[in-house]
Amino acid sequence: MAAVTTGDDRSGYDLTRETWRSILTGMDFDRQWKRILHDGVYEGARGKSLQVEIQSGNLTTVLDKKPFPTDAATLNSMEIVYQVSNSVYDGRFANNGWLQELPDPVTKLTWDNAVVMSHRTAQELGVKNEDLVTLQHQGRTLRLPVWILPGQADYSVAVELGYGRDAVGRIGNGVGANLYAIRRSTAPGFDIGASIRPTGETYPLACTQDHHGLDVEKLARESIRDRLPIIIREATLEEYRENGEFVHEIVESPPKVSMWKEIKYDERPQWGMTIDLNVCTGCNACTIACQSENNIPVVGKEEVRLGREMHWMRLDRYYSGDPDDPEMVHQPISCQQCEMAPCEQVCPVAATTHTEDGLNGMTYNRCIGTRYCANNCPYKVRRFNFYNYAKGWPEIVQMARNPDVTVRFRGVMEKCTYCVQRIALAKIAAKKENREIRDGEVVSACQQTCPTDAIVFGDILDPNSKIFKVKQQNRKYELLEELNIRPRTSFLAKLRNPNPALSKRQNPKD
């Protein structure tokens, strides 16, 4: 086009370099050019940081006018809150299968958006999860399914933007409903005056947690309430200051003795991990990092709906307290690499065995798929290839796969192995240089990506390693340790530090 209009027939590459020549004014243009191509970023373009200051006086003035009256929303004139999707953002990533299948951190929905509302709102509308409703706002209507969320404000519905695109590509086309069609440019964040009418139809949603109405079944709800303090150990800062050892007093279990002579893992390195629940925000980055690193397939909505999502790293979300005003916690779970792994002894073909450095290893080409290991895994972190999910990957996707990791065929079990391929690379490098692996040399994909450094990984026998030190903390506990399976992954208990004025947890017994 440029050649036709301007007569300039230089290639695009040359033109780009021409432009950059004026920006990169340093000594060696080619060197700098290669550098920024390699890094993918030009340091010189970094924005300048500004000093900002909040003038609280103005804020008070605005708030005093009560811009958000609490009783403004009613059943017939509901508040509608637009959010960009946690997965596909404003829709620009709608054709990305990884992101479409990434569960929403709160609703745990994949492959769809829904109109999210509170229990009370749903009750008054006479709708339940997966009921298709007509959302009416400003004379425009949109049909989308209902999802009930504990803690959502009554008469306020939340909807995610970024779905319902119809010309984005083979993955994203027609996924979900397009909320841009209903949103007014004058009220892009939230608005009032929406109404909802049930259609009597249902629409299947693919959710990765709380299947089949767990949140309404009393029996299950009570049991979750009882076991939650064991699974996710948390305290307020006050409580922690009073009793630093609280995590170890939650579970009473008989002495954990084996009936046989246990194998000692005393040869370095011995790999281990900690996940700090205190800093985990539930952002899902680890899930995607893991998916990318380990060639984990996308299985599609139907399969997720059947409960067959493949994520090796998942984020469990639990509510606690009052269902209408709950607290929420996230817990990242992947294979805990138990030293006495229950999955190993049940495999009839020894496809999952322990390595000498303490990994719960998988021999994919030995696996015949009895699924016994998955049944016997108390964390349910094992993932089974029910079909040949790698079938039909476009060539470009195939080329994007990690060459260090096997692509698993159907009928094979798979799971996290602490990024064993990265460990192997570090081992080889260390061996070549005739030294031991340095602390921090092996970084697992989830650890690398975690924005809050919640994940620490390393050799637990190295007294100078970070993991060794972190594991000394008294907040450390192992999930389901009472089963005497000795997980290598530990969690650090969550501490909350609520503002006493706002705290609902005045009485911790509640």
Partner: protein, 183 residues
Amino acid sequence: MSSTRTDSKLFGLLVEFETPAALLKAAEKVRDAGYKKFDCHSPFPIHGMDQAMGMKRSNLGYLIAIFTIIGAAAGLGLQYWVHSIEYPHIISGKPLFAWQAYIVVMFAMFVLFGAGAAVFGMLHINRLPRLHHPVFFSDRFSKVTTDGFFISLEAADPQFDLQKTEAFLREIGGAYIERLEEK
């Protein structure tokens, strides 16, 4: 089939009796007369017949016992060899020689070898399968699996004398006597 072909050789005599009781009594008499190479055929095993025929106890039991022990040892040996020598792996943090877990397979092998020895040992001692036998030349003998009770007395017995033995069998109550030939 009781033909009179000249090239045929006498195998022995086949005598029929009416009832199990008659057979049992006859067997005692044949035994007392000192015959060794004879057999009593019946559609079902008759209680007390072993004694009546003067037979020793079956030694099949020893064979089975030996095989059960071989089976169990092979089971244990296989598991020890696989897990401790040939293919050692750390599995669930348990010792390589996890004998508790090996008992089931040992027991299965014990039973399998024992059962195999019982059946195939029995067939071997009974010289079976043998689809061809002189007694089958007798049409009458086909009753043996329904309601026929027979004694077959072999000519190879040192006491055997065609005339005398025939007379003896008739004397002890043989209702029907037939000469059996080989081929």
